[in-house]
């Protein structure tokens, strides 16, 4: 039996079993997160490590007497064994509820409906994957990670909701090197196409050839800069650090406080929304609540909505929008503008073409100031012509400047930035992002 099918049988058996155990006044939400993944790490186009992981984690959220207990535990996929574990941890959850104080922000469980999305893919077999991945990169110094296999997220509750989202997918996240110069690429999807992968590598090799010139070292200062979608992806990741969270806003830790309070604004060229139509993440959250397909967060430079979980909504007596706890974007889209791909270098004129950024962090949250580094294929451009790769530079820049009056243009195309995170398990989701043309982007070191 295939992993996904076996997991579904076990999950449903455990859920039905636990729901039948509940006594009056108890409600239970159950989540499954599971994967059967292959991870192959490459260095210099050779295999450094390969790991296969089969894991299933069941999470219980028990509400009892206005108390809330959250418990997660590993299960096996074997129904008999999993029922035993589930009984043990339900007992522990009840014990927690008996010991803990009342939870004033508890959200009563409801039936949030039913959905089932399962995508079957075509992935490389163990026998063929090493040759398939390394052959097109022959002669290149390639480092990276191939991660693939079925993954599942699902939720049920004692009120009857039942949501299932699974797919068989892969991501080949790689870099190609020429000494210390490098370019970045990601080939991801659900059906492995050897020709498409070879084409992606070929494009990366062409980009790397542009790096075959002496590096230019720039002095700190303000430069006109084009952030390609890969760099926009890094910049936009900062929106996940509490910036768009209503709870963070109320508790003083959102970096967009001044935007929400209308003390500052972004450019009319900048709009950001949640768009589950991208199709990479489920619309339901871990409580089974189904978010709207699209939700405007920042429109034409003005804050329209924060992401607000039902728990936060209850805490602050406001309307929620079914955000995940933590209130971070799960399907972020930055809206396109009018700058055409063929005009990017011409409009940049003289300045920096930045393919990627690295290791961003808030350097001053109240002013939405971010520091970080340039990384990979970043070039000095003069009069619309690429002149030289640059030595990496540190920037320190406020979003109110670079996405405010200094934002000159947004590209008319967007690229998908798939979530390739693999902390504890492979992630779902991804972003849809354009490139950004910015003046006076500030570099400090």
């Amino acid at each position: 039996m295939k992993f996904t099918e076996r997991s579904k049988i076990s999950f449903n058996a455990v859920a039905e079993h636990l729901f039948a155990q509940l006594t009056a006044g108890e409600e239970l939400n159950i989540n499954l997160n599971a994967e059967e993944s292959v991870f192959v790490r490459f260095n210099n186009n050779k295999v450094r490590q390969n790991t296969q992981v089969e894991q299933r984690v069941l999470s219980l959220l028990l509400q009892k007497s206005s108390r809330t207990a959250n418990i997660s535990f590993s299960i096996t996929g074997n129904v008999t064994e999993d029922l035993k574990r589930a009984d043990q941890w339900l007992a522990q959850a009840r014990k927690e509820c008996d010991l803990l104080p009342e939870d004033p922000h508890q959200v009563p469980m409801v039936n949030n409906g039913t959905s089932d999305s399962s995508v079957t893919g075509k992935l490389l077999s163990y026998e063929e994957m090493f040759e398939a991945i390394t052959a097109p990169a022959k002669g290149s110094d390639m480092a990276g990670l191939y991660a693939a296999g079925p993954k599942i997220t699902a939720t049920r509750n004692s009120k009857g909701q039942n949501h299932w989202f699974s797919n068989e997918s892969f991501a080949m996240d790689y870099s190609l090197y020429m000494g210390e110069k490098a370019v970045k690429g990601i080939y991801a999807g659900t059906v492995w196409d050897q020709n498409a992968y070879a084409a992606a590598l070929s494009q990366s090799k062409n980009q790397l050839s542009l790096m075959d010139r002496p590096k230019k070292t720039l002095q700190p200062g303000a430069y006109r800069a084009y952030l390609a979608p890969g760099a926009t992806a890094e910049l936009s990741s900062m929106f996940s650090w509490g910036a768009l969270s209503y709870n963070s806003y109320k508790k003083g830790s959102s970096a967009l406080q001044k935007l929400a309070d209308k003390e500052k604004s972004f450019s009319k060229l900048f709009s950001l929304r949640e768009n589950f139509g991208i199709g990479l993440a489920p619309r339901f959250n871990s409580s089974g609540e189904v978010a709207p397909e699209t939700l405007d967060l920042i429109s034409e430079g003005q804050m329209k909505n924060f992401l607000t979980s039902s728990r936060t909504a209850k805490e602050f007596n406001v309307a929620g929008n079914f955000a995940q706890d933590g209130e971070y974007p799960r399907a972020m889209e930055i809206m396109p503008g009018t700058l055409k791909k063929e005009d990017i270098l011409k409009e940049l004129g003289t300045g920096l073409y930045l393919s990627n950024l690295h290791y961003l962090n808030w350097s001053d949250r109240p002013t939405a100031r971010i520091t970080g580094m340039t990384r990979y294929a970043c070039f000095w451009v003069e009069n619309g012509e690429i002149v030289a790769p640059i030595a990496d530079m540190r920037f320190d820049e406020s979003l109110y400047d670079c996405l405010g009056e200094n934002l000159l243009a947004v590209t008319d195309f967007q690229e998908i930035d798939p979530n390739v995170d693999t902390y504890s398990s492979r992630g779902f989701g991804g972003k849809k992002l354009p490139g950004l043309l910015i003046k006076d982007f500030k570099f400090t070191l």
């Binding site: 089969e54 590993s74 163990y126 508790k251 070191l445």
Partner: protein, 474 residues
Amino acid sequence: MLDLHRCLNSLKGSVDWAQLRLVSEKTTWRTVRDEKPYLNDISFDHGLMVEVLVNGHFGYAGTSDLTEDGIKRAFSHATTMARSASAFKVHDFSLAQRPTAKGKYNSPVTRPIDSLSAKEISDIFIDSTRAMKISDKIVSRVASAMIIETEFFAISTSGSDVHQKFSIVSTDFNTTASDNGDIQMRSDNGGLARCHQVGAEIFDRASILERSKKIAEESLELLAADNCPSETLDLLIAPDQMTLQVHESIGHPLEYDRILGDERNYAGWSFVKPTDFGNLQYGSKLMNVTFDPTVPDAMASYAFDDAGMPATKEYLIKDGLLVRGLGSLESQARLSLPGVANSRSASWNRAPIDRMANINLEPGTSKLEDMISSVERGVFMLANKSWSIDDYRNKFQFGCEYAKLIENGKITKTLKNPNYRGTTVKFWNSLKAVSANRETFGSPFCGKGEPNQVIRVGHTTPYCLFSNMEVFGA
């Protein structure tokens, strides 16, 4: 209880070597915000990693299915993949990289964690956040703990038999104060920086309440403080910020897997080259740095790493000279350099890679008051708030929660929004005084590796004084 020896005996035969690594880890989060429960979360992670050596290549398969069928399936996956991958292997490994290890380790615990109930912890935290309630300007009051209980067994076909048991607590107490559009956060030495191998004795009510009140007072003090000046001057750094400085600008660049390029596609490379060992003057003569997984209560102490190498204290930098890096037996073989016992995995579902453990700055001879007296004009920074460094671990910029201005040898006033930036080797060569007293902090969340792994690290450091540093405010 799973009989690992019986499992191993049923699996061996078609590989050159095999190891079973069984990990059970219970993580409990207790968080109270504004005197109300915010998070009470228990996760119990339980699984087995099968590791095999086939044709000079190590292969791994981890499973949470601990039935007989599940373990056999994992062994089959590990073997099949290792055999296929061995034709593409980066290095020809042998059993020399998996010495036989036998022994036990237990975290030093005075009172077992389970001697304190959820209610008792919750009550202390409610009182903590109540103690923080000293002004309407304080908009957020948080008390939080992450409690980790880990049990680890490893047995191999070459006779290894290791049992390690860890009890770890990380705490965080913080307040956010807001007034006139300014927002200032103050915590208990930085977010979750107080982390140790310890038992329930860490939840000392009197100490927690005293610290909670001080944190709240200092967040208000910051609201009224001047901004950190932007100039080049002396910089005195407290151990709760030195922790981050050591971690980012010594620990990571000395990891052999970064130097070898394994990590290039994710966290990055290193400015350190193999030829730098024994030659590079990394810092001033006052700089002595050790890898020390033997510090009793530090976050990352253990008896053996995941490859079976005994954990011992080793000097990485001696009198400012780089002498040794952070490399496991595999990396040592690839680089032909000596290393340390740092082959560590985040859990049963990840293969071990080169990690930090406890990376410590050895004490100097100065007294803190003398260090302050020696400064004509400088800034004294405490507790990390912001961190960023390049993928070669060279150009960094760090921010702190709290600072004091030093003028003519005396502390004169509090400063807010303190930041500094620099480059690694130049920074460490500007070290001009090191205190005799040290403090131990750490982090439960050092991220690295493909697939990604979070590991726990500890850092024991003194107060350090640096000359000619670029500092700036908001």
